[in-house]
Symmetry: C2
DNA sequence: AATGATACCTAGAATTTCTATGTATGATCC
DNA sequence: GGATCATACATAGAAATTCTAGGTATCATT
């Protein structure tokens, strides 16, 4: 753990994945690496959280996948957002913003 | 629900309670009302979440209580932070800041 | 006398995330 | 060639928190 104890994901994993897929199709493992890199390992995506989440969101119709090959010729499931997923992303992002703002209020940070 | 669907607490309840008690002793019901007021009902504290949390944190030695009377002469459990609780508050607040910053990074908000 | 707000409590369900595994293959190093 | 590491997928079961849905009691108000 290069940056101290990693943060728990506190129910934001779906949002983080949806947002990552908003930039274009990607496979599960790549999504995890992308989030970790962007946050400099502050957020760590366990595979035991990642794959169940992808499975759930596929079932809910927020994302879909097709089998493909990665750069290094490995079999991958390439995920992408559906229209429903894009709507869901907007909703979850708005919810997060409201939530984070509210918490900041309680913590006494003057955010406005 | 005056302000739309209330946000889930996503593991921040302990932090919110500790922070509220940092301003001085208060009883459970009052803590809940304080958080709801401060956030204009964005965060809603269910009693089924509140009391178990107070119980857990008492057991962990982060808070302690004594029976007392409220302004309107009701029996209350007046909670206050312990030294351990103050340390815990600092830790959880730092963790939250790191976490919120990391999420903002993924969401593409330029916070630095 | 009834109602609503205050104030406490608990059981059980739901959900998410984590820990701990397992499998398989491509790439690298000796 | 063989070992090892990173990539890539997956699942079972545990752990933790929060929610739903009840319950009790008292004070104040209508």
């Amino acid at each position: 753990m290069p940056k101290g104890t990693p943060e728990l994901l506190k129910g934001t994993l779906d949002l983080l994945i949806l947002k990552t897929l908003d930039s274009g199709p990607l496979h599960g493992y790549g999504i995890a690496r992308s989030i970790e890199t962007k946050t400099e390992q502050t957020l760590q995506i366990e595979e035991g959280s990642l794959y169940p989440s992808l499975y759930r969101m596929t079932n809910r119709g927020w994302i879909e996948f097709e089998w493909g090959l990665s750069d290094n010729s490995r079999k991958i499931k390439s995920y992408r957002l559906t229209a429903k997923g894009r709507k869901r992303l907007k909703l979850e992002q708005a919810n997060w913003d409201r939530f984070a703002f509210a918490v900041a209020r309680v913590l006494g940070e003057q955010t406005a």
